[in-house]
Symmetry: C2
Amino acid sequence: MKFGGTSVATVERIRNVARHVRREVEAGYDVAVVVSAMAGRTNELVGWCKEAAPLYAPSEYDVVVASGEQVTSGLLAIALQNEGLPARSWQGWQVPFRTSDGHGSARIAEVDGAGILAGFEAKREVAVVSGFQGIHAETGRITTLGRGGSDTSAVALAAALKAERCDIYTDVDGVYTTDPRIVPRARRLDRVAFEEMLEMASLGAKVLQVRSVELAMLHQVPTYVRSSFDDPADPKPGTLICDEDDIMEQSVVTGIAFSRDEAQITLRRVADKPGVAAAIFGPLADANVNVDMIIQVVSDDAATTDITFTVPAADYERSRAILEQHRETIGLREVQGATDVVKVSAIGVGMRSHAGVASRAFRALADKGINIRAITTSEIKFSVLIDAAYTELAVRTLHSLYGLDRA
Amino acid sequence: MKFGGTSVATVERIRNVARHVRREVEAGYDVAVVVSAMAGRTNELVGWCKEAAPLYAPSEYDVVVASGEQVTSGLLAIALQNEGLPARSWQGWQVPFRTSDGHGSARIAEVDGAGILAGFEAKREVAVVSGFQGIHAETGRITTLGRGGSDTSAVALAAALKAERCDIYTDVDGVYTTDPRIVPRARRLDRVAFEEMLEMASLGAKVLQVRSVELAMLHQVPTYVRSSFDDPADPKPGTLICDEDDIMEQSVVTGIAFSRDEAQITLRRVADKPGVAAAIFGPLADANVNVDMIIQVVSDDAATTDITFTVPAADYERSRAILEQHRETIGLREVQGATDVVKVSAIGVGMRSHAGVASRAFRALADKGINIRAITTSEIKFSVLIDAAYTELAVRTLHSLYGLDRA
């Protein structure tokens, strides 16, 4: 069971979490609970680091922010004992979660579940584990996995313990066909395939962290997304993220995701010669800019070409500066850009076996007067880049088109 | 160097601490800094524990409260790096400070300074150490030393590193002949003997924790008490706590301490027979009540005796209840008690070689109309128990009597 920051934001909520855990223990399960820091706490700690020095060592940042989960794990262990359950807290270094030394965004190398399993064996002791953190074995120093890392901690621990399932409790009651704030008729999904969830998380759905879904898929950990605000005595089932084969009725499109975190860059009349793509995208890759959609169109002048691509909005200015630096080698004439764009995506493993899924979308969007700036497709999804002003209209259009609206 | 909660209460103050440390590094010292949690933070964390459950496991309490020092150590390491100094934080489990398993009030068994010394050796790296915490080696769990334990951490670490000295930075600029809030003419002492400081701390002076002084005395660690609010570029020397032999001019009385944390219990007309003391004080000792002053007076009736003793004010009600339970075996007739009492003490190693020091005090107090309820003496101190209303008068009287007033 994993509980995020809003689920443990106050001691009262932590006591409520304890009641959720008790229900599962009484149902016969041995339980490990992964917790985040109390909501707002991590931001406060990060703020202090910035106040202490404009440039701070990530290794010390990790020490400061990891204290947030430490507090929550201790408090939840206390609350569980108060519910009459044997319980103890485990910090990342105690389990241990062995990670890389990439302080601030370390990767889990290995999780040793032996101590926790021994507690299950000896006295059905609930393990309360600080998420988001680990230890670098060689230096013995505290590491953190980066924002949202608690989901990853939970799935990695579930895999290490060979758990029957991993329940991610959050402030929503499952995975929806799209954001219900935009489409009120969005439906909660009973089941989503790992690959679909991975695409949804990558394409803007915020319900789960991408790396946690990758891990769940890799280790085939059945993972539920469910609400910590349900009545602990009578919770709803939430959404199961599972193997594609475990989903009986598969629709062609499962969900519509969108991401506002996009910026478009267009290079006009670039010389159409071998090596030009490398000249453009090499320097961006070197600077860790993640280029997403790329389209190339032959321009009026046959010797040149127009190249359009997207980068994360946060990297937009930096990307333009890098391109300016390499203006000569690229043979650049004109750079255009836009940040008021959005990427809307439709995801579904059913696309593999159904042709023409995307083309129906292009027609439907054109009918609504929505101009498509770029397109990318893969086996189980397609994305369109459009003007941000049309976001809601486009999402609702696709949601209806693929029969996702609640009756 | 050790900095307490008020010295690190804000990030701005932590940056000021970094300047104090830089001064010592620039003076050529390798420095280990022990820090407390930001002022108020520990109380907040303890409050959360109490909110989570009325009765909480001390092992989880330790996990929660130890997070406070973790935050400070990380932030100070960042602030030191910002001052251009190599620095890294060390948690209790990393150093490690090996302790007993007495969660909430663990005792330090061993401090391993090897890692910190290696950092000194390799790159003059400042070690920023979380005070107040350790690890129990067998269970691998976080322990804390109890309130005020950071002083003890600092002295123990200084001993382990064979430090030239241990500087305890606090919100006062040294040890005074008595509390300056009560006696404005109190003087800051340049030097105090370990044994005197031990008595002062035990008898109510709050400047240092008793266990830290015991350790300093045991390991002969020269320890300074000084102010973190001094100008980092030009600090005052503070008070040196050192071996008696290192103090040239020793006055007979060095300081006057007082403690309001006392309660008096008088048992009237107890049968004066062998074993009665054991019948009274045995049950109190079994209940961990620390009985201090004891006086026995033969009453009018020669077959009985009156016994007066003091207990900590916090144990007063409990002590009376215990005595009631053993009324039969003690042969108890009447119990009287008072909580509005105060213990005033005069301390000085010079008492060893000077007779009649205490008797001068009794006369001076009597002259002021102050009634003495009980007296205890030892080699280097004497204490009187008086009505709390006379506290200030008694302290000022003794302070003047022994020539401690500032000119």
